[in-house]
Amino acid sequence: MFGYFLTRLGMFIPTFLGVTLISFMFIRVLPGDPIIVMAGERGMTEERYQELVEKLGFDKPVLQQYWDYLTGVMQGDLGESFVTKKPVWDEFFALFPATMELSICAMIFAVALGLPAGVIAAVNRGKFFDRALMSSALVGYSMPIFWWALLLIIVFSGNLGWTPVSGRIDLLYYFPDVTGFMLIDSLLSGQEGAFKSAVRHLILPTIVLGTIPLAVIARQTRSAMLEVLGEDYIRTARAKGLSPSRINGLHALRNALIPVITVIGLSVGTLLAGAILTETIFSWPGIGKWMVDSIFRRDYPVVQGGLLMIAVIVMLVNLLVDVLYGVINPKIRRR
């Protein structure tokens, strides 16, 4: 198992280097000069332009710039934002807990509903329940996040007044960040009602962000379950007289879980991508909106650093998924 883990970890290094190169090149091949975008309609003199080119290091050869960036990254320095003049590292860690909190809640929501929905649909294959669930999953998967979020806000926040429109907590509560996770910080603050307010603020964004993974997980669980339910050992189990819940829950689901876990792992990327829209609509102070703004402003260090950090997170999650395969399926770790 340890050897298996090391092999997976070894693959991490070339991927990491590849990501640094791609993120570095990606923003540079986009047309648009960050200095000119920064100056806008106002423009600037040629001397001033040259001064800034030098200051930001754009006068150096691209390879030299990449090397400087890479050596910086190796020392934990992602550079400073052109716009806010603050270290990218600090900005990322100020915002990331918000994205992570929302993503974790969305994932819990998606798995908690998607897994049972998929199992129930598979067991009731072809019946009304199956069709209804799978049609809803298709709708959920196809729905534009932006539209879905606004619809929920207008109905639940605007018309019914059940949930707050946006933000992470009621503005009346004010306490310093400890962990950056609002659910935890609100509990630590000891202020009455703060935790409840944080939970209420999480409901709509969680539903919106979790909808697509929920649909994917439900459909994947259903098809994996159907495949497993047709296997010989399931028939044997039935023949032995095991109860349906034991067959479905223990024998079928455990074997159906591998493709489902793959999908869950891959959904982390989807969640981070979905976070961009969800965070913008719900004014959620996470990394999604931060990245989009920085692309528009051609804020190279933020785009590079942000992409790199997101890639590392996705890689780590996939590493974890690979390890989980080994835990679930002993055959894999012996290979």
């Binding site: 986009l30 047309p31 648009g32 000069d33 960050p34 000119i36 975008v37 920064m38 100056a39 806008g40 309609e41 106002r42 423009g43 600037m44 003199t45 001033r48 800034l52 200051k55 400073e80 052109f82 716009v83 806010t84 003049k85 603050k86 900005e91 100020a94 915002l95 918000a98 606004l150 806000i153 207008i154 926040s157 605007g158 007044g161 707050p164 429109v165 946006s166 933000g167 992470r168 009621d170 503005l171 009346l172 509560y173 004010y174 306490f175 310093p176 960040d177 202020q191 009455e192 703060a194 913008t280 609509i281 719900f282 004014s283 102070p285 996470g286 909106k289 931060w290 703004d293 051609r298």
Partner: protein, 527 residues
Amino acid sequence: MKLKLMAATAAIALSGAAAQANTLVYCSEGSPEGFDPALFTAGTTFDASSHPIYNRLLEFETGTTNVIPGLAESVEASDDGLEYTFKLRQGVKFHSNDEFTPTRDFNADDVIFSFMRQKDEGHPFNQVSGGTWEYFQGMGMPDLVESIEKVDDYTVKFKLSKPEAPFVANMAMDFASILSAEYADAMMEAGTPEKLNTAPIGTGPFSFVAYQKDAVIRYANNGDYWKAPADVDNLIFAITPDASVRYQKLKAGECHIMPYPNPADIQAMQDDADINMLEQEGLNVGYLAYNTTMEPFDNPNVRKALNMAIDKNAIIDVVFQGSGQVAKNPIPPTMWGYNDAITDDAYDPEAAKAMLEAEGVTDLSMKVWAMPVQRPYNPNARRMAELIQADFAKVGVDVEIVSYEWGEYLSRSKELNRDGAVLLGWTGDNGDPDNFLAVLLGCDGREASNRAQWCHEPFEDLILKAKQSTDQAERTKLYEEAQVVFKEQAPWATIAHSVVYMPMSNKVQGYKVHPLGGHIFYGVSVE
């Protein structure tokens, strides 16, 4: 509820009965880049920094472009217009925070510090927070200001390299905000000079409490303010980037004021009895700039004919969805010096066609450049270009619409031999007509911000004379004449000024739409 309020207000350290604290919540459209206004150029940043936290030597009177005394009680220009002497206000207190309590009042050292850090490359704060001082540079201050002298603790003298009347208005701009030299020294000693930008200390009506990035900014009433204190105890910016969501928050009572509504929502807001909608023309202009160095656009009659072919009212309806106003002059109507006596070229395709034929222009093909970004002065340049294309087709002119990525667009449109007419616009910085007429239409602006590449001597003489005069009445007259010359020569088709809408809860009193575009909450109360 009481506990919540008490906790919040205790943290914000307010005076007075906690439970009675009243809070104004502004759903702002974006995050500030930082809190030191001189480092940045975005209006969103100024809303969060220079307006609540700081003062300047001179200020713009809220709701107008008039310049009034601020931290300077008076300013006097020498006869040759090369020296400006500011008499400073006494007894003005700076804010304090956990790490800093001021030991002295505002004085000349703070003025010298606030400007010299921007001007002097050897100043210890010149490079702090990556200082690029874009506005100071952009307004030509490094060359204009020769020296700044402390005459005594409460008198400062600026020496200029040439007479320039707009200097007075520049002193009221955001980059000219006054910071505490004592705080700067303390932070430098503590090894955290960047705190000038992240934990700001100013003299303004509100003191900074906390900023949670991309989420909330909190301010408290500055009880020691040198004018009457602000009417609310707390000011909160709830950062809400999406306009539809801002509207929902306003309806749900989660905020009191919001900027930049969706044009599509404006009617519903106006119909809502709980929402009070203020409106005013923005200090901007959207235009189509011909390249006046290229045939046949070097002929004023051709330009004039094309201007007559554009149906501007249709553009206001379709592109601005009503939130705009037809522009007849290159400066907006809220600005002093605006010449209202000028009549716009009437929309008349028949006459335009005849005029083009009279000039020997037939089978003309041209390019119209459409910006790839949304701006208040042009919310949809592509659509505007399409309307102009259809209008020009009616007079026999064939239009090809082109567009580039924004950075490319800005640099390519500056080129002297650029092919085609460019859609662009401008938002005023300091409320001075010079900021439009000289920057956008002066000879020095060619191959830069003068997209028409236009250099017309009679016009240039007028604006140069106006720039050097310190007599406001004379300047007004000169600018009015310059607009007459502009209209005759037609280097642009002036298209529109945006209309700024500010929806707010009807519990809010005293808010004034500021023509310079900022959002100012001093003097605003909430029931």
